[in-house]
Amino acid sequence: MKNRSRVCFFLLFLAMPCLSLPSRATVATIIYDDKATLVSTAELSRDQLWVTTADLKLATGFELKPQGVCRDELCFPLSGSRKQELTRKNAGTMWFNLTGFARLVNQPIAHDPELAVWYFGLRSDQRQGLAALQAPDFTLADRNGKSHSLSEFRGKRVLLLTWASW
């Protein structure tokens, strides 16, 4: 009996790191849709980047809504188990697992641990156009700073040509 309780105690000790969620506060630079945002209250937990839902909105434009993770018309639904996996409430603040969400939407991530910079690439929805042979739209400035979008040229045939100074 004595031995058995010792085994149980030992197992419980081993399980401890799994039961708790060791996380550490970090400052993070999040580059999302090619826009960089400095987030001062992020958390790192087992290589996962958690941000408050306020910072989620600030850095990505996405919001947590009853129907899922949404930005304007775009919504990624979250099932019950996904929601549990990607969100948590702590002392009245709602936290969101941004790297977990990236996996859900097939978004590549590049990370520099030393400088705490995370770059989020194209989500699956941003790649659908090319897969459907529709020319992905973009907006860029000319030499004088005036913006132009590819979609402005609808109704004309367009030769899209890249070049570089290098």
Partner: protein, 197 residues
């Protein structure tokens, strides 16, 4: 679309000298290369009136100023382009969907991750961290070895020999020399579409 990390500083003088009548945009985050999976410059894409891609990602020289280096004559490409301008969707140079999909590297995980590493590297470089950017530029080059953009842009932002142990010319030689460095555009006309009575 100038694929230039240093934006108007590097691309501006070239645009001013060309004084173009067409729209020239500056793409300092290489957004167009990322969205279209492009691997070099010059790359051309034909987009029809409805925003549909009808010829994707191919080497597109519109004059002969680099002909001595590449061995590529611009005339066949310009001829095909003129045919499309004249005939639109009836042009024999409009590709069928099977060929289009083959040429667009859609959803290749290594290509996607390479673009993210390159984006991160560019951002680090621009925030004054060239030394920290180099490993990410290298990772982008490793993940998408077909991309000359990732090599050439990174080399142009530092001392290539010192930071990458190579130069553009050495890489061209490794690839078989300047005459095969650019994949020649496949300008064989598509067979005529079935005419329904």
């Amino acid at each position: 679309m100038a694929q230039d990390t240093n934006g108007v500083k590097d691309a501006g003088p070239w645009i001013a000298a060309a004084n173009p009548t067409y729209t020239v945009l500056i793409d300092e985050k290489h957004v167009v290369s990322k969205l279209y999976n492009m691997v070099n410059v010059p790359t051309g894409v034909w987009i029809d009136e409805h925003g549909k891609i009808v010829r994707p990602n191919e080497v597109a020289f519109v004059d002969d100023r680099f002909k001595n280096f590449t061995g590529l004559d611009s005339a066949p490409y310009l001829n095909a382009l003129g045919d499309w301008v004249e005939k639109g969707s009836r042009s024999a140079y409009v590709m069928n969907e099977a060929r289009l999909r083959e040429k667009l590297a859609v959803n290749n995980p290594d290509v996607l991750l390479a673009a993210a590493e390159f984006g991160l590297a560019e951002n680090l470089y621009k925030s004054g961290h060239l030394a920290e950017a180099i490993p990410h530029f290298k990772e982008a080059q490793r993940l998408n070895p077909k991309s000359w953009n990732y090599k050439r842009q990174a080399y142009a932002l530092s001392n290539a020999q010192r930071d990458y142990g190579t130069t553009f010319n050495e890489e061209v030689q490794k690839a078989g020399g300047s005459k095969v460095y650019y994949a020649h555009p496949d300008l064989s006309p598509s067979p005529p579409k079935d005419q329904k009575p």
